[in-house]
Amino acid sequence: MSILQPKVKAPDFTLHVTPDQTLSLSELRGKPVILAFYPADWSPVCSDEMSLFNAVLPEFRKYKADLVGISVDSYWCHSAFSKNSNLHFPLLADFEPKGKVAKQYGAYDEKTGTCERALFVIDRDGTIVWSYLSPTGENPGADGVLEVLENLPK
């Protein structure tokens, strides 16, 4: 299955952000949402996508967009990684069942048991308006997302 394409309704999901808090996609309805699936916390930083998106976050906010990172790491792992990288957006744990949400989005790599580097921009009505799967080992930049946000109806 390839990643979900534009015009498809973004499947709703509920995942842990912290040990006792969950976040559902439907809670974010009403604003554009950027879903960033990535393989793992703690990969070599500086070249890591979450730090990059973190630095670009103020630009995403100009479009009132929410950003959410998703990997199969546990919420404890996310908590430590997030603190270390000083992230200002939530990381969701697609931990149990492993990769269930990633699979719904066509963004799960069976070989490695981690999420692919896949980006989705969802409009305020919950429809995917853009998606991108990065070639293996390549971090997508934030330029694709910004272009899409710019062209969303105000």
């Binding site: 500086c46 730090s51 973190n54 630095a55 990288s85 000083n86 971090n139 930049g141 330029d143 910004l146």
Partner: protein, 178 residues
């Protein structure tokens, strides 16, 4: 294919032959260890190609990850206004592990500039927007980490290592020659 969205201009920091057929742009973060690692490699690349390659450095600080990166970038801009960009750039990368506000002051003073004036500029944020502009230009160009290199406006996705870079640049030169 990610391409450079901000063309090279007189405002850029350019090292080497201004009219070189190959332009190597580095979007870098002064506190990033990978950029620190790339520093001698890029120097070797430039040496290897002589007049054929020029190097452009553009700021891409990841401020949440590297607390001194923004300050370091602004310091080089301060130095640049006194025509000492590259000297400052080099001193920072050669001493990355010492990076701190006081060390940046030491660096500029060692180059004959006023540490007081640097502090004032940092406090006033005189060079904050120029660094931010560079950062945003990088984002638009598809920068996906640090360092991100562009060779003749196309993002280079290979390893930032001497043999691979030399190989790649030679291929570009050959294509140009046809």
């Amino acid at each position: 294919m990610a391409t450079l969205k901000v063309p090279i201009s007189a405002k850029d920091h350019i090292r080497g032959n201004q009219n070189a057929p190959i332009t190597l742009v580095e979007y870098g973060d002064f506190q990033c260890p990978y950029c620190g690692r790339a520093y001698p490699i890029l120097e070797q690349v430039l040496e290897n190609f002589g007049d054929y390659v020029r190097l452009v450095f553009r700021h891409f600080p990841l401020a949440d990850l590297h607390p001194f990166a923004q300050m370091a970038s602004e310091t080089t801009e301060f130095a640049s206004s006194h025509k000492l960009f590259w000297e400052t750039h080099d001193l920072i990368f050669e001493n990355q592990f010492k990076l701190s506000e006081s060390f940046l002051i030491e660096i500029v003073e060692s180059l004959g500039l006023s540490g007081q004036k640097l502090l004032a500029a940092l406090e006033a944020g005189t060079y904050t927007s120029i660094v931010r502009e560079s950062f945003l230009g990088g984002v638009r160009s598809g920068v996906n980490g640090t360092p991100t290199l562009y060779i003749n406006e196309e993002r280079y996705n290979g390893p930032v290592e001497f043999p691979e870079l030399v190989n790649f640049i030679e291929t570009v030169l050959l294509k140009q020659a046809r």
